[in-house]
Amino acid sequence: MPLTRLSHSAALILKAISLGYSFGFDIMETTGLPSGTVYPALRRLERDKLVSSSWESESTASADQRPARRYYHLTREGKKAALFAVQRYPLLARLLPEKNS
């Protein structure tokens, strides 16, 4: 996907992932975007190879007594796109706080 076609919500999601918010609900809470925007946007970003996803191991999830999470990571192209997004939307950097932990 050409970087110039990155929408504001996609840019926000990429920035959130780059800051360490790595599963759907976490991204939704941080960005304040509705679930109807976040989940399809994550699928589009994955289709365009800007993010990749992997399931957390069952043993880690069981130890914390919760279901396994699907984690999203930025690919090399995704990292470039996240940098481009901050240049294009300078306020993004101020909108989202760095994740603690």
Partner: protein, 266 residues
């Protein structure tokens, strides 16, 4: 771990029907996990409504994507698009001319311009694409008869629909002008010839850009060779069939060993 509340379970079960079968298990697992985390935060009723919309739109996106992948570049999509464009043009002519009677009851002047324009366009297209059509027919000789028949059928239907679309589009332009002056006949002839020739040429070009086996549009164009090595090897663009039937080699420059596009079976 606490089970999900009934509302979320019902919404998930209903939306899962929208998700393509191959993705359903992964999708359900993902949403069960997300909903469990959301449920832990004891969300309000408004959030629940938003979540239901999210689940539905996510499922709908997956279905739409599966349909896009299945029909993108397919001959069915081509036919449907052409037919839909024809219907749209008929609706526009109806809108501009004020009724179907005017549409059917064409003036002698319009009939003459359509006939002349279409004849010029068909003759020019047939003459200028004769070589390309012959090469295409030659390339398809190795195919079994049922596939050849399918190709011819698709081409003839596409050509017919393109011709109708070209004529209808001209009709839309002139219906929107609301003029019956005699001077308009010349622009009508030229415009009809231009539109019809354009759509016919597109039909021929589109046929060459499709897989000879499954008739899907060829994808993934990639540059092959270098112009400076033209005397040693071909250089140009290679497009491949996404179903793996073969690839089309389109030379950038005509050479004695490759004058035109060549279909290579995988």
């Amino acid at each position: 771990m606490n089970p999900l509340p009934p509302l979320h379970r019902y919404v998930l079960a209903a939306a899962a029907l929208l998700v393509p079968y191959a993705d359903r298990e992964d999708w359900s697992r993902g949403w069960h996990s997300e909903l469990w985390h959301i449920h832990q935060r004891r969300r309000s009723l408004r959030s629940n409504v938003d979540l239901a919309a999210g689940i539905a739109s996510d499922a709908a996106w997956l279905r739409a994507e599966a349909l896009r992948l299945r029909f993108s570049g397919s001959p069915i999509l081509c036919m449907v698009t052409l037919a839909a464009s024809c219907i749209l043009c008929v609706r526009l002519v109806y809108y501009f001319s004020g009724g179907f009677n005017q549409l059917i009851d064409l003036s002698l002047q319009l009939r003459l311009s359509y006939l002349l324009g279409a004849t010029i366009a068909i003759t020019v297209t047939m003459l200028t694409t004769a070589e390309a059509r012959m090469r295409y027919a030659d390339a398809g000789r190795h195919l079994p008869p049922d596939l050849r028949a399918k190709r011819v059928c698709f081409f003839v239907t596409k050509l017919t629909l393109s011709l109708i679309l070209g004529l209808l589009f001209t009709a839309v332009v002139f219906a929107s002008l609301h003029s019956s002056a005699i001077w308009i006949i010349l622009p009508q002839i030229y415009l009809t010839a231009a539109f019809v020739a354009g759509t016919l040429r597109w039909a021929v070009w589109d046929q060459q850009q499709r897989c000879q086996h499954c008739l899907h549009a060829l994808a993934r164009p990639s540059r092959v060779g270098r112009p400076s090595h033209n005397l040693l090897e071909w250089n140009g663009t290679e497009r491949t069939c996404r179903h793996g039937h073969g690839s089309l080699h389109e030379p950038e420059m005509q050479t004695s060993w490759q004058e035109s596009s060549r279909w290579v079976i995988s």
